[in-house]
Amino acid sequence: MSTPAAVVIGASAGALEALSAILPALPASFALPVFVVIHLPHNRKSILAEIFSAKCRLPVREAEDKEPVVGGTIYFAPPDYHLLVETNYSLALSSDEPVRYSRPSIDVLFESAADTYGPSLIAIVLTGANPDGADGLRKVGEAGGTMIVQNPAEALAPEMPRAAWAACPAARSLPLAGIAALLLGV
């Protein structure tokens, strides 16, 4: 396996609880950028960055279009925009149509990150009640990246990790504690 260079995480229903078991566990020395897509109601100001800033030791921000990726930073996709990673390691937002009814879409983030980071990407599909993320996770696998799904039995909403696992049988299924431990080990 290549040395990991970035982490992407997708979550929907139950996202706050699940992420609260992972992101605050990351130490201030964590060197990789972490990109997160959570499905949100439209037209609502996101308070995710604020919520997690208070809980995390890493800087947490809402992603800005064209900003250079900085390691050890947690980026949330803003509501109503897709978040992508450009191959020159900068962020891009797009107003393209929703994918599987979602904007931001986990698939869109994962596919662009797979293109940029290839085998150095760790992709994680957490709890959720829809199949977003399954296609994206498959692209991550095709590019040689590490595929992880939250153990569906443990997930608040099992459909999303289950769909991702079905699409990517080679993905590892881990409980939240195991995912946090894996990230601490990189």
Partner: protein
Amino acid sequence: MTDKLEDIEIRLLLEALFSRYHYDFRRYAMASIKRRLQLARDDLGFETYSALQAALLHDPAVLPRLLGYLTVQVSEMFRDPSYFRAIREQVIPHLRTYPSLRVWVAGCSEGEELYSLVILFREEGLEDRTLFYATDISQNALAKAEAGLFSLERLQLFTENHRKSGGKSSLSDYYSAAYGRAVFDKSLREHVVFADHSLVTDAVFAEMHLISCRNVMIYFDRDLQNRAIGLFKDSLARKGFLGLGAKENLRFSEHSGAFIDFSREEKIYQRWAK
């Protein structure tokens, strides 16, 4: 690092599109372009971007089909209602002081933003003294905008947005329903000029009091953004207004000194005298 084969193919395809047809996507933000091209390649049934490129060069009929993917843009009427509320409550009082007005909806796509502004100006009693320019690079999008047809399913959202934006009338006053579509009243287009215009390759064409260009420049790279903002700067009358998308701003532009923040929250800027 050497480029991946697909990245080389995409670069060549965009070069071909420009050399042959003068549509210039070469300085667009690549991640989104790549996604759209991938969709186009798969839907149009080509194995590779190179095969798509060959077809594009030799068969002009491929052009509109490819452009359909590259220029597709979905918006909503009164998208981000707070933006339209800010236009209504903060910008309109300034615009009222002019005897005649010109408004430019740059990158109007299928017209959602244009109709929103025309309706807002009518509600505020300014439509009769205003000329609206609606421009886009896509002939197809312009034709749709000019037709003023929207799927009825979308009207519930549009109506809700309009209400939240401080709308003074009912959106249903402006359209009639037929065959699952909302047909917007042609009187809304009496003060509108639809025109083919590219922010990438074309120049200033009139002096404007308000330019609304939302979620268009987000697809440009920094150089291209600078060019477009320069166009807006040169097009705006002194103290004219520029409205951008919720996640766009002038912070990194070389022209930022020519504008002041008018509504920081809603990304509305005002042209400042030199």
